[in-house]
Subunit: 477 residues, 2 copies
């Protein structure tokens, strides 16, 4: 994607500077880093980037942009994977970056809650929470860069969804600047508050369509002072799902992650991190990375030990390694991370983010992989993910010897094949990444008329001037 | 509340029968049971009660009522406590009861999910799920009568919210008949599905303002094959909160209930159930009823035992009883139930459903109780609830020797006092019961202009003819 910039308002940038001050408005080359995507596939542009430092300044930015008839693309850490925060009409859009609003306004350990501004980096917030003896469970590969407001706007998932839910389930309250510049003040810190329609739900996962989240009130939990991590080798994906069921029962609500990986995960991780120690000597057809965690009187190590014993007894586990210390646990997770980097190093490829009912996951993967390999025998399928949630990243690496345009054609074809199979399984084309601009065509192609009607009705009602994140999620006409 | 019925459309009932058939339409005396509230405080009336047997018949009912310009009051089991499902304009409203749509459409144990029609009784659904070896965690006093659609429309809470969340967190998908008679088909069974704006959130806790929920897709969990229940005696409410904190850490995510009760709970329970065995000989200033549950390899009995030992060591527990079998556990819970019946037997009284931040709960209760007793020394305060969620039912029983109109005046005064204190604590007037028609004045008095603006905008956009549950939650003019 690359778009020419011919401003409809030639002096829009100047007028924004005049209105908001040069402290807030970036223009020209300085906007470039705010106009590209995380993977570096897309470099777009914008009239300006606005960087407010307070909720009042966000209000001023929204009012100034709206007065000029400009679209606003709200932006957090820019780590989204679906172009939700990348402008697509550079001549008509400004980016509003929340990166300067990073303050923890309140951390009430006695209430297990915190109020944090939208621009706070997830990892920094988690560290501050940990320093207070508590725990915020959202865990993503991008947590060193992503920002809380973006996590909430995209209802981010991650590796701990299994136990703690998506971001939606961690939000107690929101402060939002609406498209008309008013502030929705819903920063409740109540764990239970059932006063009818829960307005904040509109903005969670709303991809910035109805306003800009400026601050968030979040649930915190007791810190898990015990964590046990294990890698289990298995004969095939259905066995991993069978093992998940056993673990779900055996460890009840203490299992915090259950990740499935194919054997190529090891190869990819080693390509990315040549020094990475491999935990098992032999290669196996499938792996599960399991984390159990807890605090207090429950003996987590013992639980993992006994669970693994039962996994061997059941015949499901072919081999198994329990991390003996934090370094070993980190090493096991590094395989999961390295596999992603390894895929990127192999060049352009298809990345998907799919969910199907758990009861159909193994059949879906088998069918989709077979269909792809029949069509493009030189491709490599890399299917991995949060199996317990029915969430699989079925990625396809085209034959690296192909010409660049052939690779693009294969990626395109593979996506079509996967989505066709997916539709028969009543699955989702976006289990956790959202729709943004990247998945809009696939989303719209599957949008039921009544859903489209409701989305259009909401957008017209809540943002009649179409100021907020135009071009994201769906086109109204 | 009692309202005269003078139909604006004298032949509305006849026209509904003509349109929908006598199989579906109840009129006259037969409507009475559908027009009263759970406590028996209110007997209203309606033009007719419509009892559809399928989603298509719900569509026909909505279209027929809308064509006549009638308001629709959707109704589940009628166990709500805020008049959300009781008509308030009998001459202009029909009740649409979902009681004939009770089918479990699908139970996919391998996916830990089920699809059930809105009229299914919660307890019957839970039993069916248990027969399949799984567990649906929503637990309410009314579960023998309340219906799933009502639970979702009101985002019901209950005793297990602590661990499993409000109803919202248990919903995977919805089927809803919209105010124009169209069907929103969102019966997804995916555990993770992040395709942008999550439309179903509008209807969860929406109190029927935007449509009638006809079917629900729900999360299921592994059955907790081990449950441990204990009653702990304490010196005061702050000690109960301190004990909760200890339990939250010691038992991490395995604690499924932590209920606080004052000493009068024992008296009230005995008044209601004279044969109830009292678990402790002495009376104590405060009690906590604690439940820990789990499955598989975790030893729940041992965990409870060790937790209680640590509670004694900490000096917080004055006495403690662990149920040795199911009958004893049932007996402990019967105190909690009996306390409610006992309050009802004492005659008309103030019932509240409040939440404040947990860090301020003890102060709030102390301040509110003191303010009430200063104003009305003859009253009895009964404060109990789900402390872990910051949710307290601060009820006030007026002096029974007062005349009925004096009692009503005291209830009214006590509510005002409680709400005044509550406002200073940034609390909620409805932690779990919703707003309905009963709490509408108190809700509207606290409704921020921006919230009112958003609610009005949504209602106008989604139900321009104001067909769905008019008079509930807030008045637009």
């Amino acid at each position: 994607m690359s778009v020419a910039k011919t401003a409809i308002l030639p002096d829009a940038a100047a007028r924004l500077i005049e209105e908001l001050g040069p402290e807030i408005v970036l223009t020209g080359a300085a906007t470039a880093p705010y106009c590209r995507d995380w993977h570096g596939d897309v470099q777009s542009d914008a009239i300006a980037v606005l960087r407010p430092r307070s909720t009042a300044e966000v209000q001023a930015c929204v009012r100034a942009a709206a007065a000029l008839g400009l679209g606003i693309v709200p932006q957090g850490g820019g780590t989204g994977l679906v172009l939700g925060a990348v402008p697509d009409r550079p001549a008509e859009q400004v980016v509003v970056s929340l990166e300067r609003m990073t303050r923890i306004r309140l951390l009430d350990a006695e209430n297990y809650s915190a109020v944090v501004e939208a621009g706070a980096v997830l990892e920094q917030f988690k560290d501050a929470v940990a320093a207070a003896g508590l725990f915020f469970p959202l865990s993503l590969g991008a947590q060193g860069s992503c920002r809380i407001g973006g996590n909430v706007s995209t209802n981010a998932g991650g590796v701990n969804v299994l136990r703690f839910g998506m971001t939606r389930e961690l939000v107690l309250g929101l402060e939002v600047v609406l498209p008309d510049g008013q502030v929705f003040n819903g920063l409740s810190q109540l764990r239970k508050d059932n006063r009818g329609v829960d307005l904040k739900q509109l903005f969670i996962g709303g991809e910035g369509l109805y306003g800009i989240i400026t601050a968030v009130s979040l649930k915190l939990l007791p810190a898990p002072d015990q964590v046990a991590t294990a890698l289990v080798a298995l004969a095939r994906l259905p066995d991993a799902i069978a093992l998940y069921r056993r673990a779900r029962h055996a460890c009840c609500d203490l299992m915090s992650a259950f990740e499935f990986m194919p054997p190529i995960a090891m190869t990819l991780a080693q390509e990315a991190m040549p020094d990475l120690a491999m935990p098992m000597e032999a290669t196996h057809p499938a792996y599960a990375l399991i984390e159990i965690s807890g605090s207090g009187l429950v003996d987590i190590d013992d639980l993992m030990q006994r669970f693994l014993e039962s996994a061997f007894e059941s015949g499901l586990a072919l081999d198994g390694v329990i991390a003996q210390n934090q370094a070993q646990a980190k090493n096991l997770w590094a395989i999961r991370e390295g596999m992603n980097i390894g895929q990127a190093q192999r060049g352009r490829h298809l990345r998907t983010d799919i969910s199907v009912p758990l009861s159909r996951l193994a059949d879906f993967v088998a069918e989709a992989e077979a269909a792809i390999l029949q069509d493009q025998p030189g491709s490599t399928c890399v299917s991995y993910g949060h199996v317990g949630d029915g969430n699989v990243h079925l990625n396809v690496l085209p034959d690296p010897h192909l010409a660049p345009d052939e690779i693009d054609a294969q990626i395109h074809a593979a996506k079509k094949i996967v989505n066709n199979v997916l539709d028969r399984y009543a699955g989702s084309i976006s289990a956790e990444h959202g729709i943004g601009r990247l998945k809009k065509p696939d989303f719209e192609a599957r949008l039921l008329p009544v859903h489209r009607h409701l989305l259009t009705t909401l957008k017209k009602a809540l943002d009649p001037a179409m100021t907020m994140n135009p071009g994201c999620l769906f086109d109204m006409y």
